[in-house]
Amino acid sequence: MGRVSRYMLRRPGLFVLSTLSVLLVGVLVNAAVFGYLEAVRLREHWRERFTIRAIFREDVRREFMEQIREEVARHPLVGQVVLVSPEEARARFLERLGLSEGEVAGVSFPASLEVVPRHVEDLPEIAAILREEGTFVEVFYGGKEVEGFLRLFRLLLKALSGFLLGVLGFGVFVIVVTTALTVQLRGREVEVLSLVGAPSAFSLAPFLFEGLFGGLLGGAGAYLLGLAFFVPFFRLVGEAFPGFLWVNVEELLVVFFPLDLGVGCGVGVLGVLLGHWRARRRRP
C-alpha cells in the first residue's frame, strides 16, 4: 500500500482528474437509469390501459374463437389475451351503464378478443396482424390520440437510447483520455520497472489499486450526488404532480448504490489495464 499511496501523492492531479471523470460517468449513468426506470414504469402503466379489442364475426364458432385466442397468445409481442363471450360482453355493458336485461332485449353482443401487448408501442403491429386474420369484423385500440401518444412514446424511447449511447460514448472517451494520460505520466514508471525485470503483475499492482480506489471514490461521489439530487427532487415533484407515476426514490437509490460503485470500479480498472498494456507494449 505504501507504493500506491506514494504514487497517488506524487501525481495528485492525475488521480483527482480520473476520479472526477469516473464521477461524471456515474452521474450520467444515474440519469440514464432514472430515465429507463421511469419509462419502464410508464410503459407498464400504459400497457394495461391500452387494450386491443377485436370483435369476432357473428358466424365464427366458439371452438374456432378458442383456437384463434390460443394462436394470438403464442405471438411473441402479445402479453395477455382474454376471450370475451357474448354473455360476458352483455353483462359488462349492463354493469357499466347500469341498465337491466329488458332494456337491451334484442340487442346482440358479439364475442371479442381483448389483447394486451407486452410493450405499449407494439399496439399497431398486433392490431395489423389481427386485421389480416379475417375472422374479425373490427379491430380497434383507440383513436388518433392513441396514435399520437405512441409516436411521442417512440420518440422518448429513441431519445433515451440516444442518451444511453451518449453515456456509453462518454464513458469510452473518459477511459481513453485517462489511459492516454496514464501512459503519458505513468508509462515511464511501468517501462523502468519492466526493464529491471518486474513481471507485469508487479508493475500493474499499484496502478490497479489506484484505479480501484479512484473508481470507488468516483462511484461513491456519484451515488452521494444522486442522493442529494433525487431525494429533494422526488419530494418536490411528488407534491407538484401527485398523480404522476414517479419511480420510488428508495428503489432508485438501491439500484444506484451497486451500479455506481460497479461502474466506478469498472471504468477505473479498465483505464488502468489499458494504460498498463499500452506502456508494456511501448517498451516490451
Binding site: R188, V192, L193, S194, G197, A198, F202
Partner: protein, 223 residues
C-alpha cells in the same frame, strides 16, 4: 559452454535496416569485455537482444546455458532480474527519488525492506550519492544521473552487467572511477561485465578484451 554466446546473430529492422549481421562471439564468466565501435555500429541493439527488448532476425543467443532468443515472453522478467543494465538513455523516472531507483530492482526480487535499505545505502556510498538519496532524479546533474543508473545496475548483484556508454556523461575522473568499480567487480566477484563504448581512449587504460563492432559486423578483437 560460454556464459554468454552469440551464434550468427543478425537483426534487421523494418524496412530492411541491418543493425547486426552474423555476429558470433562468446564471453566467459567473470570476463570484462569492451564492445567498441562508432555510433550506429549496433552496440545498443546487441544489448537489447540480450535483455530481450528485441528478438534477433536469425541466429541464437545463449546465456548461462540457456537459449534466450526464443524465451517465452512470460520468462523475460526473470532473465532481466539476473542482469544489471546501464542504459545509454539512462531510463530513469524523473520524480522517483535516488533511493527509490536503487530499491526498485530489489523490490522486484522480493528482497525485504531492511536488506534492501542496507544494499541501497551501500551502493549510494560507493557512488558518492549518499547526500542525494532523497532527491528526485530530475534534480540530479547529468553525471549524477549516470551514476544512479550504474548504481541501479549493481545493487542487486547481478551476474552479468551490460553498460551502454556508462561514462558518456561523466568527467574523466568520474569515468575512471566508474570503470574501476566495474573492473573490480569483474576481478573480485567474478561478475561478467560488457561495456559498450565508442571511446577508444578507454580501451588503452584497461587491459581487457575488446570486440570491435562496425556497421553491425565484428571487425576484429583485441585480447
Amino acid at each position: 559452454m560460454a556464459f554468454l554466446e552469440f551464434r550468427g546473430v543478425s537483426k534487421v529492422y523494418p524496412p530492411g535496416i541491418r543493425a547486426l549481421e552474423k555476429v558470433t562471439f562468446a564471453v566467459e564468466k567473470g570476463e570484462f569485455v569492451f564492445l567498441q565501435g562508432p555510433t550506429g555500429a549496433g552496440k545498443t541493439t546487441l544489448f537489447r537482444l540480450i535483455t530481450q527488448e528485441e528478438r534477433p532476425t536469425e541466429g541464437e543467443i545463449w546465456f548461462s546455458g540457456r537459449r534466450i532468443d526464443t524465451l517465452d515472453p512470460r520468462f523475460v522478467p526473470f532473465l532481466r532480474q539476473r542482469l544489471g543494465v546501464v542504459f545509454q538513455d539512462l531510463e530513469i523516472v524523473p520524480d522517483w527519488t535516488v533511493y527509490e531507483h536503487l530499491v526498485a530492482p530489489l523490490a522486484v526480487l522480493g528482497v525485504n525492506g531492511k536488506e534492501a535499505r542496507k544494499a541501497a545505502w551501500a551502493v549510494l556510498c560507493l557512488l558518492g550519492l549518499e547526500k542525494k538519496s532523497t532527491f528526485q532524479a530530475r534534480w540530479l546533474s547529468g553525471g549524477e544521473k549516470q551514476k544512479l543508473c550504474i548504481g541501479r545496475a549493481l545493487v542487486h548483484r547481478p551476474k552479468l552487467i551490460l553498460a551502454d556508454e556508462p561514462t558518456g556523461n561523466l568527467d574523466a575522473a568520474s569515468a575512471a572511477e566508474v570503470l574501476n568499480l566495474l573492473w573490480d567487480l569483474s576481478r573480485n566477484e567474478r561478475v561478467t561485465v560488457i561495456v559498450a563504448t565508442h571511446n577508444e581512449a578507454l580501451l588503452e587504460r584497461f587491459p581487457a578484451r575488446a570486440i570491435l563492432l562496425e556497421r553491425g559486423r565484428i571487425r576484429g578483437e583485441r585480447c
